[in-house]
């Protein structure tokens, strides 16, 4: 009883400050605590108990409890336990102690809660606007329940500009993004450059917010959201789709049929395959090695075809519903998928052998963008970035979901902590993914793929789900609610945490290594940017202004 043990530890230490605890299963723990001890509890868990910080969630709970709610999620990876520490914050004075001092990785999450829900974090090290667009008025918080999903604040100020920090003395500001040849998605890094050395940076992202969470909480229904969740990311959409479904299932205590779990695993691994191949290609493109870029895209292509054959789409498979999946693998597809995997493995093996021996790529990537174990802990880095630094975490093994507890696979780690190690980890993970799919195809039994759910889902339950995306842990938090939709749904894409590690990675490095350092986390800005719509300009035959575009969007929706 790991969850019980951890709870007892907390109770011993904090006694009456622990108000309530839920242990829905042995791998989940929800602890409600007094606001005054939040910093101490988090310090104790993060420091003494050596938990890994996942994310903080803010929710407007006023219609139900009259208070705001903040949750800090932690993971105990070796013990296979996910913990959520919940605090209720009074509605009339929404203030809470910041934990960013004791858990540096909570920096962004708290700023996001401040923007979106309006809870002030006292003692935050850098309380600056993170998510809301430049012209958004202060004091308006879109994730509050009294703010309509399609509302635009009246005093939205197009002219207002974001105030960037002053660069340190002697440094020049070199902008990187939003429109840069190596960035596929918009994000703005304001690099402080001294000569050729990067001395620091300021990040301004969240330029493609689409209001997905707000939309889910106000308009969509349980089974609409998986399709929406999938569109969070253009590469690892299936991850969000599965993670959402699992979070809801875990909240409502639903167990999908085994065949559905196998299918989820297969599709998740197919996604990992094409994502890793894509990344190796892009990384090569960044270091100016277009030949391997083209090769890995060529090798990747059959995976896209087979995905299309199975699901109807190269991407955005539309896989999950609550309690099952929507598409099955026929025996013919199974044979074909095996053939594709064999071909992929045969083609990828020589590529990996060549890359691992290539001195030029090593020279370009060794010792670059270093994030060591301490940095991973501090910034909450996850996925291949953490594994490349020797941090042995992988949600597939640590927090098993779908059928990952029924297949054998290795968690690939490396100890360099640099870009090169990340290349090695990702290149080798491809083979593990192939093996997992093969085992699934062997073990899959015929049976139903979708549960018949007749009852309404229970209300007010909490669900957590961590899914190992190609980029790292994708974490979903769900509070079930009325009207057949969740009350709160929070998505934490892996890039959200990994991006926070970038400033430390690029500090005191050459400008030339900036791109590959950033690229090595496999950044996925749109994953990170989930909320609110803003900042779009395109010029086909006409340059649309922001207002025109917004008008257009609203007219279509109405």
């Amino acid at each position: 009883m790991v969850a019980r043990d951890k709870l007892n530890l907390l109770k011993d230490k904090f006694g009456p400050a622990i108000l309530r605890a839920d242990l829905p299963a042995d791998d989940r723990l929800f602890v409600y605590i007094e606001p005054v001890v939040v910093r101490d509890v988090c310090r104790y868990m993060f420091g003494d108990m050596d938990a890994r910080y996942i994310i903080s969630i803010g929710a407007d709970d006023r219609p139900f409890s009259g208070k705001f709610m903040v949750a800090h999620n932690f993971a105990f990876d070796p013990e296979k336990l996910l913990v959520s520490v919940l605090v209720h914050v009074p509605a009339d004075n929404p203030k809470l102690d910041s934990i960013s001092g004791v858990v540096p990785a909570a920096n962004w999450a708290e700023r996001e809660i401040r923007d979106m829900v309006g809870v002030e974090f006292e003692g935050h090290c850098y309380p600056k606007r993170l998510v809301l667009p430049d012209g958004w008025p202060d004091g308006v918080h879109p994730l509050r329940k009294d703010f309509a999903w399609n509302e635009v604040p009246k005093d939205f100020d197009d002219e207002r500009e974001f105030k960037f920090d002053e660069p340190p003395a002697g440094c020049t500001v070199v902008p990187f993004g939003p429109f840069h040849p190596t960035l596929d998605e918009p994000a703005h890094f304001r690099l402080y450059v001294e000569g050729e050395m990067v001395r620091g940076c300021e990040y301004r992202g969240f330029m493609v917010h689409r209001g997905i969470e707000k939309l889910a909480e106000s308009v969509l229904t349980y089974n609409d959201i998986p399709m929406m969740a999938e569109r969070i990311c253009g590469i690892c959409g299936c991850v969000h789709n599965v993670a959402y479904a699992q979070a809801v299932e875990s909240a409502a205590a639903i167990k999908p049929p085994p065949r559905a779990e196998y299918l989820r695993t297969v599709m998740l691994e197919i996604e990992r395959l094409h994502s890793h191949l894509l990344w190796v290609g892009l990384a090569c493109h960044i270091v100016g090695f277009d030949t391997l870029f083209m090769q890995s895209f060529r090798i990747r292509e059959p995976i896209m075809w087979i995905a299309e054959k199975i699901s109807g789409n190269r991407k955005t498979y539309g896989l999950c519903l609550i309690g099952g999946v929507r598409c099955d693998i026929t025996p013919e597809m199974r044979t074909e998928l095996r053939a594709v995997l064999d071909k992929l493995e045969a083609e990828w093996r020589p590529v990996v052998a060549a890359v691992l021996k290539d001195k030029n790529i090593q020279k370009r990537t060794r010792g670059i963008g270093v994030a060591d174990k301490a940095a991973c802990k501090r910034s909450g880095l996850i996925g291949p970035v953490a594994r490349a630094a020797g941090v042995d975490i992988d949600c597939r093994r640590d927090h098993p979901y779908a059928v990952y507890d029924r297949v054998r696979f290795n968690v690939i780690t490396d100890d360099g902590g640099d870009v090169w190690s990340r290349v090695v980890v990702r290149a080798k993970e491809v083979f593990e993914a192939i093996e997992i799919i093969r085992q699934c195809l062997d073990k899959m039994e015929p049976g139903p793929i979708q549960l018949d759910i007749k009852d309404e889902l229970p209300i007010g339950r909490l669900g957590l789900s961590s899914v190992e995306a190609p980029r790292g842990e994708s974490h979903h938090f769900v509070i079930t609610g009325e009207n057949n939709r969740p009350r709160r749904w929070r998505v934490r894409a892996p890039t959200y945490q990994n991006l926070q590690g970038v400033p430390a990675m690029i500090k005191d490095q050459q400008l030339a290594d900036m791109t590959i350092s950033l690229g090595s986390i496999d950044p996925c800005f749109s994953c990170t940017d989930r909320l609110e719509t803003i900042d779009l300009k395109s010029g086909a035959t006409k340059v649309w202004t922001q207002e025109e575009l917004l008008k257009l969007v609203r007219a279509k929706k109405a």
């Binding site: 090569c284 277009d290 060529r298 030029n360 050459q510 791109t515």
Partner: protein, 329 residues
């Protein structure tokens, strides 16, 4: 075939322009087609047969673009830079002997002439980058200059080694000396200097770096510096820089052919002519393209290290060794 000299020169120059233009355009095609083949894809196929009209389409596109000179830019330097990058490339071709008779100006110090004009290239890119008043352009310009000057030194040093053997700076004479079977080429004249292949390799590496070609393409390391020194150049302004890059490749490969591979001399001692020159030159050009698609871009500092800490000492040692060998024989 006796024309008055001025007319001959003019004809030669017009021919040279056509040669440069056609080469620049079709080397781009060859590069894209070659890159495609290296990467197991077809390359351009849409415009004309096998994409052969692609360069024409590109040219029309570039020429029909709006010419933008940013108001913040230095108006004179910004406009002069493309001229200065293109003109020297053509100038140097004028002294390269394509065959025994096909040469623009057969001057005594042809080699120095080539290097002198070749060096202007660096200045022109610096000028363009600096005049643009764009951060990426300026960083790139600074890199280009330090890269090009770094590789200029080993290049000049290895050429000295060669000069000690040839005893002349007249390119025509250098080719004449290499008449006969291919072991008379400077590259294979191991009897006078067993280090000749090393010399050639250093020369080739330096040539790659001087022309800012991958893996030494710091000038336009697009993943970090957008379009490098040419970021602010629109349309044909960029087009001229682009053409000049290929013209410079032709110049570099021609020079390597003349100095090391026997110029227009046939490898079998008979049937020498311009065809041999072109064959050898294009074989080198192909190698340049091949190298680009085989190696990743080097890091800027390891690039400088390669020149200052490896190539320069090696070329100095070859110089001294050649000196001693000549003394002993």
């Amino acid at each position: 075939m006796d024309f008055p000299e001025p007319i001959r020169l003019l004809a030669f120059l017009l021919g040279m322009m056509a040669f440069v233009a056609v080469n620049a355009a079709y080397l781009v095609w060859a590069e894209r087609k070659g890159a495609g083949r290296f990467q197991r894809r077809p390359g351009p196929t849409e415009v004309g047969w096998a994409g052969l009209l692609q360069p024409v389409a590109d040219g029309i596109k570039l020429i029909s673009k709006q010419v933008i000179v940013p108001p913040g830019a230095d108006p004179i330097l910004f406009r002069v830079a493309p001229l200065l990058v293109m003109a020297p490339a053509m100038m140097t071709l004028a002294v390269i002997p394509f065959s025994e008779t096909l040469v623009g100006r057969d001057i005594n110090v042809g080699l120095v002439f080539v290097f002198a004009f070749g060096a202007i290239n660096v200045m022109a890119i610096m000028m363009g980058g600096w005049a643009s008043r764009n951060k990426y352009a300026i960083i790139s310009a600074a890199r280009v200059v330090s890269q090009d000057v770094a590789y200029e030194i080993p290049m000049l040093l290895v050429v000295i080694t060669l000069l000690m053997v040839t005893g002349t700076m007249n390119l025509n004479e250098i080719v004449q000396q290499q008449a006969g079977w291919f072991w008379h080429w400077n590259l294979f004249r191991l009897d006078v200097n067993p280090l000749m292949p090393v010399t050639f390799i250093i020369f080739f590496i330096c040539m790659l770096a001087e022309t800012n070609r991958a893996p030494f393409d710091m000038a336009e390391a697009e993943s970090e510096l957008v379009a490098g020194a040419f970021t602010e150049y629109a349309g044909m302004g960029f087009g001229v820089f682009f053409m000049a890059e290929y013209a410079n490749i032709v110049v570099g490969c021609s020079l390597a052919t003349v100095l090391f591979l026997g110029g227009w001399q046939s490898p079998f001692g008979v049937g020498s002519g311009v065809i041999w020159f072109l064959l050898k030159m294009y074989a080198l050009v192909f190698t340049v393209i091949w190298v680009r698609w085989t190696f990743p871009r080097t890091q800027f500092y390891s690039l400088l290290n390669l020149s200052w800490k490896i190539l320069i000492p090696i070329s100095m040692v070859t110089l001294v060794l050649t000196c001693i060998l000549l003394k002993l024989t």
